[in-house]
Amino acid sequence: MSTAMNASVTAAQLGLMSCESCQLLSRPSSVLEATYCPRCGEHLAFRRHGSIQKTWALIIAATICYFPAMLLPVLVSTTLGSSEDDTILSGVAYLYTSGSWPLALIVLVASVMIPLGKLAALAWLLITVQRGSIKNNHDRTRLYRVVELIGRWSMLDVFVDAFTVALVQLSPLMSVAPGTGVLFFAAVVVLTMFAAETFDPRLIWDSGEQHPVVHG
């Protein structure tokens, strides 16, 4: 039996910093110098430093990479001298026409929709935070958690390509090489994962607080 007691005050309002690694609360000795967690040595801050700027930079970079990732071939297969380019979408179409529509759907969701959804969700979170929105705080926090959780699944296509390339090496009969699209696609995955890491969900709640919060 245990219950959480509501104190209705945030750590930042009391001038306390919460360690993101070990959860210890501590009061910084000086606001000016860099502070480290006395228990685990992690760098401490009221809010993640430059969270909004860094997250914007990462999602803009990811959006730029998204287009070549979708348009350029991810696989180049050579069968008895004739070669064929495959983009992510044509790979989905191939899975669909060859009769495995559940797999086509999984790849479509993981490779096309999840990265797009992550970019849209993070952009919306950033815009609402910058406008000082105090609406839908619960839904926005939940959305952030979903973004954090499902982001890794967009790596799916990178693994599909890597293992297809690794296995189908029977030249001159049949061989598969990676296309230039793979690099851009991998970049989208990594950049959106970093973007989710740099966004600070506590900013969602700060707009509604009575006292201004010290920003890093």
């Binding site: 959480a4 509501n6 919460s18 210890l24 685990c40 790596m155 090496q169 029977l170 049949m174 990676p178």
Partner: protein
């Protein structure tokens, strides 16, 4: 302990609301009253259960990385690949960055995660827990985030089905190892009591936690 620090109060990681933590029973999960984020948990399962799972996962990891994942044969010719083969072939085809990413998510991060978890759980038997364990615990979160074995398994299955249209493919022993890891990794995460280790850890600035002192005294009295 220094009164600058509040032992039983935590700030919600997602909304910063301060909340008091009452002692947790095994199986308890404490969520933020405002945003429902997980504040603290105490896993069920006997002591050492998580370590046993980690050992099992380490064995599966070795099998998964040393045995072929799948074999392919077409008109008398055959080929097979391992996890490392997936990254290696990408490297040879001049996709070094992608190859590195595959290696990190499929081999390096899961391997480092298991190694760190083994060492830190054995070291946590000491009281107070040595302070270098804190550094390992911090790294473990990053390794956990970049271990993508479940995504890799699905990726391999999709690749197998795609290739099956062109040639005959057969899953190898390594694939069973990956399957075991995909089950064992979440089991380790669920049964690992990180809070308990943090509470007994010697602080970075040299302070010794009260709990560890009490335990050491009790052990002395018994001995």
């Amino acid at each position: 302990m220094n009164e600058r620090f509040l032992a039983s109060t935590v700030a919600c990681p997602d909304c910063d609301l301060l909340q008091h933590l009452s002692p947790l029973e095994p199986g308890d999960k404490l969520r933020c009253v405002r945003c429902d984020s997980l504040l603290a948990k105490r896993p069920i399962g006997p002591e050492g259960f998580c370590l046993a799972l980690t050992v099992a996962a380490t064995i599966s990891y070795i099998i998964a990385n040393t045995s072929p994942l799948m074999d392919l044969s077409v008109v008398g010719r055959s080929a097979s690949t391992t996890i490392a083969g997936g990254a290696l072939e990408m490297w040879r085809e001049n996709e070094q960055l992608t190859a590195a990413l595959v290696a990190i998510c499929a081999i390096i991060a899961p391997g480092a995660y298991l190694l760190y978890m083994l060492v830190l759980q054995v070291a946590a038997h000491r009281s107070p827990v040595p302070r270098w364990v804190g550094g390992m615990l911090r790294s473990v979160h990053h390794f956990e985030m970049w271990s993508m074995l479940e995504v890799m398994l699905l990726g391999i299955l999709v690749a197998l089905i795609k290739i099956a249209q062109l040639a005959s493919v057969e899953p190898g022993i390594g694939l069973w190892g990956v399957g075991a890891l995909v089950v064992l990794f979440p089991a380790i995460i669920v049964t690992f009591d990180e809070r308990e280790i943090w509470q007994r850890m010697e602080w970075y600035d040299g302070e010794i936690p009260e709990l560890a002192v009490a335990e050491a005294l009790a052990a002395k009295a018994h001995g």
